[in-house]
């Protein structure tokens, strides 16, 4: 590896990571930031592994990590289930209407991300038609009304909504390349609709599923804005925890430690899935 890609990787990935790793072994400054490495005062200075001890000593951090992974997995799965039929529909539409449909998929990007998430506050709010309808149905069965906004449900809805295009696009790109003759061949050789999908279309779309899942799973795992806005006060994910360390508690070393643990977790999961995916990718 050499040239511009290497410089790019060095500047935008390696260097920040190194800074973060170094920061995680420092003491927090008195008023935020980092304590000086060398000082003649009585305050703490030098290097320490205190933050790592702290991370592993309290079960709550492990719990937040597990919960975040669960939310990210659920979001990925729901995105996949919603995006697959849509991507298939676009890929099998006449060439002329495909571009328009892709444009519609990416159109939400034209408006600000926060505005779109705030819109969900209105849609899920207690006075909105949707909440009224849900609670109306619940009342019919004699059940207590539920609060849709500021709940794990609202967080999941927001996560799925924002990340859906990241699943649709790689899936579409993959499905669009499938040779239609393969489906004809499968049908000719006795495969019904069900078998044509599960034995031809689905296995051939696995690379698209993996890249779409990575594009959804990784950002969702570190997302803090959506749980902040739609999750209310109780629902904390890793992203919120890290943001809290830097902006609230002003404990930069511990924030850095949490960030490193997040990066390690992501790399581990990506490594695992590429190993799993590698088994199914003999073909060009």
């Amino acid at each position: 590896m050499s040239g511009p890609p290497f410089v790019f990787l060095l500047l935008f990935f390696v260097a920040p990571s190194v800074i973060m790793v170094l920061a995680s072994f420092r003491y927090p400054g008195e008023f935020g930031g980092l304590a000086p490495l060398f000082a003649d005062t009585q305050t703490l200075h030098g290097l320490t592994v205190e933050t790592y001890e702290f991370f592993f000593s309290d079960i709550i951090y492990g719990y937040v990590f597990l919960k975040s992974i669960f939310v990210a997995l659920a979001t990925t799965l729901i995105c996949l289930l919603l995006a697959y039929p849509l991507a298939l529909l676009i890929a099998r539409s006449p060439k002329k209407s495909r571009d328009l449909m892709v444009l519609l998929v990416v159109l939400p990007f034209a408006s600000n991300f926060l505005v779109r998430v705030y819109a969900w506050m209105i849609i899920l709010g207690p006075q909105a038609a949707f909440s009224q309808a849900v609670n109306g149905v619940l009342a019919l069965f004699g059940m207590e009304p539920v609060h849709l906004l500021f709940s794990p449900f609202a967080v999941l809805v927001g996560m799925v909504y924002v990340h859906l295009p990241f699943m649709v696009l790689p899936l579409y790109t993959n499905l669009e390349k499938h040779d239609p003759a393969l489906l004809d061949a499968a049908q000719d050789l006795g495969a019904n609709v069900w078998h044509r999908f599960w034995r031809v279309t689905f296995p051939l779309s696995l690379p698209g599923i993996f890249s779409g899942s990575a594009l959804v799973f990784i950002p969702v795992l570190g997302m803090f804005a959506i749980p902040d806005i739609l999750g209310g006060t109780g629902d904390m994910l890793i992203g919120n925890l890290i943001k809290e360390q830097f902006l609230g508690t002003r404990d930069w070393p511990f924030g850095s430690t949490l960030s490193i643990m997040l990066t390690v977790t992501v790399l581990l999961i990506v490594w695992l899935t590429t190993r799993l995916a590698g088994r199914g990718r003999h073909y060009a």
Partner: protein, 361 residues
Amino acid sequence: MARLELRNVTRRFGDFVAVDDVSLSIESGEFFTLLGPSGCGKTTILRMIAGFDLPDAGQILLDGQDLADTPAEKRPVHTVFQNYALFPHLTVAENIAFPLRMARRPESEQRSMLNEMLEQVHLVDKAAAYPHELSGGQKQRVALARGLVNRPRLLLLDEPLGALDAKLREEMQVDLINLQRDVGITFVFVTHAQVEALALSHRIAVMNAGRVEQLDEPSKLYSAPQNRFVADFIGQINQLEAQVVEAAHGHLRLAVAGLGEIVAPPLAEAKAGDKGVYAIRPEQVRIGIHDEVSELKNHFSGEVKSLLYQGDVTVYRVGLANGAMLEALLPNSASGRAQLFEAGDAVKLGWRHDAGMFLHD
């Protein structure tokens, strides 16, 4: 009962009539070919037999049973596709076993049928390979094996040799003839390559503009084409505008403007005054400078305008007195005829009275 029968099958796409009232029947065990230029409707017929398309009118019967309500996946008819359409994510063995799995045959039966097929197409050592690891000829054999393994009542082949280079194509033709004879399955072959059709088929239907122009054995198609299209499409043929002067019992006398008279084989439906062409194959035209040519019933003088050396044979293009051009073929091996001519040479052309044929306009 015929294995496959088409009864007055018509298929239109908008105003375009792709298949126009075609009727034909194919016998069990036959190697049948649909031959014609692109757009003649041969592929549309194949797709209708396979079940990917339905006729607008007419019937398709397999062993006497109308196929109209049977979807493609339920028809005991398999296809070898033009670009093979092998499943890229499956190995050779998995590709070939695909129709067996779909038919839910017992596991042990699947294995024995698969192994038998792998041996038949000499792919045992490639069983675990993926399609992208195979050569063109190997892919071709996998596609054939996949189509044959479940013993369909009919195997359709859609220009399967089109993607191969010339030398491999010839090899595959021999393989295909042997394979068809060994498995005894009825083949319906679609091609636009007349050489391929002549070499492989028991019978050929020559198609043009949605209709069958002539349905015959290869040798009949070549030696006795029924109309100008077939004569032109199958092999090379010389054509001279001609008019019938006398239709006698044993022969036909034709007048060719600016050239003279030609004696041709008799034709039942021809009568004096009929217009058409006199057609003769280049290999039936003798070319020389000796009197032996002049002794033939039909003989004319001409001048060699150009020649095409093709190794085994040389094709001479000879200009006649009326300005028409005739091609004559001379094998370069024949000892007595080893005389080579140059462009500009004055030569004599001649042929027997029973060579060539008169074709109506």
